[in-house]
């Protein structure tokens, strides 16, 4: 009924074309067509945030984005955080502060944290809580995650947050 159509995306800096049905979820395109399995599905309802990616600089739940609406946008996923094998300050902070336990919420959490710090480099605790409220973590109770974000906010500079 619905034919596959070429859709152009820029994912983590790379220009790509996928030929898929327009209604296919961005989440599924990332995981199945582009084999970027870092982004996870936890609920399919936009409640858990484990599918969070950035689309043209906006944090979105990729399970709620039909890929047609992502056409010609810049998508950032967790796979794009580390550069040349060097962890992003957020990833380093999570590692040091115990921000990841089972790790399934972690990719989405990192994207939400990155999004937060991109707009608000020195967030208050209340702002961190709000920024991460859309990302459910069942393991940590969030405390170590808050620590991790605060730690990343304190560390280095403009350059890293602008990425």
């Amino acid at each position: 009924m619905s034919a596959a159509t070429p859709i152009q995306l820029n994912v983590n800096g790379a220009n790509l074309t996928v030929t898929v049905q327009p209604m296919k979820r961005l989440l599924d395109v990332l995981r199945e067509d582009l084999h970027l399995t870092g982004t996870k599905e936890g609920c399919g309802e936009g409640e858990c945030g484990s599918c969070s990616v950035r689309m043209n600089g906006d944090l979105v739940n990729s399970c709620l984005v039909p890929v047609l609406q992502a056409a010609s946008t810049n998508i950032e996923t967790v796979e794009g955080l580390a550069r040349d094998g060097i962890l992003h300050p957020l990833q380093q902070a999570f590692l040091q502060c115990g921000g990841a336990q089972c790790g399934i919420c972690t990719p989405g959490m990192l994207m939400a944290a990155k999004h937060l710090l991109a707009y608000n480099p020195h967030p208050t605790m209340a702002e961190i809580r709000e920024g991460l409220a859309g990302n459910l973590c069942r393991c940590t109770g969030f405390m170590r995650i808050f620590e991790s974000v605060l730690s990343a906010a304190r560390s280095t500079t403009q350059e890293t947050h602008a990425r």
Binding site: Q21, M23, R25, D58, C63, L64, Q69
Partner: protein
Amino acid sequence: MRGNAAEHELVAPGSLPAVLDLLAGAPGQWTPIAGGTELMVAFAAGRLTASKLVSLWGVEELRFFDTSPDKLIIGAGTTFSDLRSNPIVAADFPLLDKAASWIGSIANQTRATLGGNLVNGSPAADSSPALLVYDAEIELISVRGKRCIPYREFHTGYKQNAMTADELLYAVHLPRRFANHRQYLRKVGTRRAMAISKVALGATALLKDGAIERIRVAAASLAPFPARLGKTEAALLGHRLNPSLIETARNALLAEAQPIDDIRSNAQYRKSVGANLLEEFLRALLSESAAK
């Protein structure tokens, strides 16, 4: 994941005229999809019956703020993030700013649109009580032209509205005359974030010499659709604000409200909390005016 992308046609004509032509050409056949925060949930659950969808995402003519001295016009394609970062919304319509912050999470706010929230028409819609107490008007558009109706006439039943099969919700008009009104909006959900409303209450009021000169009260989840509480307003309008009036207003709300029992809450609770919220607002008004 129970949806099948192969079973749904999704087109993105890109411009407003093209979308309207499509709707006019096959009235009732095309379901507009904006940010997808409702429809994609239905899709994943295998419940999306719409087989033809037309994307409003990226239709720039729908995503705008038009500011004039007495009005703010907000395009239906405006997201809740857009609303939260607009200075006129923050200054003149703080209740709408507040409501926008309640939508889902940051990731939902970047995609959920004002138009989508209203057209979805849930009785629990987050933006509705604020719009109702701000005397919003809804502008509808089709190939036949534009028309405006008061927002309080937009919802006609449970998940039913006044739009015709070829119409699109184009914009929301907000009169900039509430700066001197006392304003209140509170939502009661299952938790602090990512919560569907159990009940919410909005109100704007103008007091003169201790009496209520103007009053708007609206609620979520106290009726089959977002609605003004007309009888409660009538019980308050023109009267002197005092503890006895507060009691009268509570009782008027309790009598007027028609909430339901559902998976999230029950009618008794919703009604009683609705009355408590009204009381909270009126007590604040009372102590403010006493302080003067």
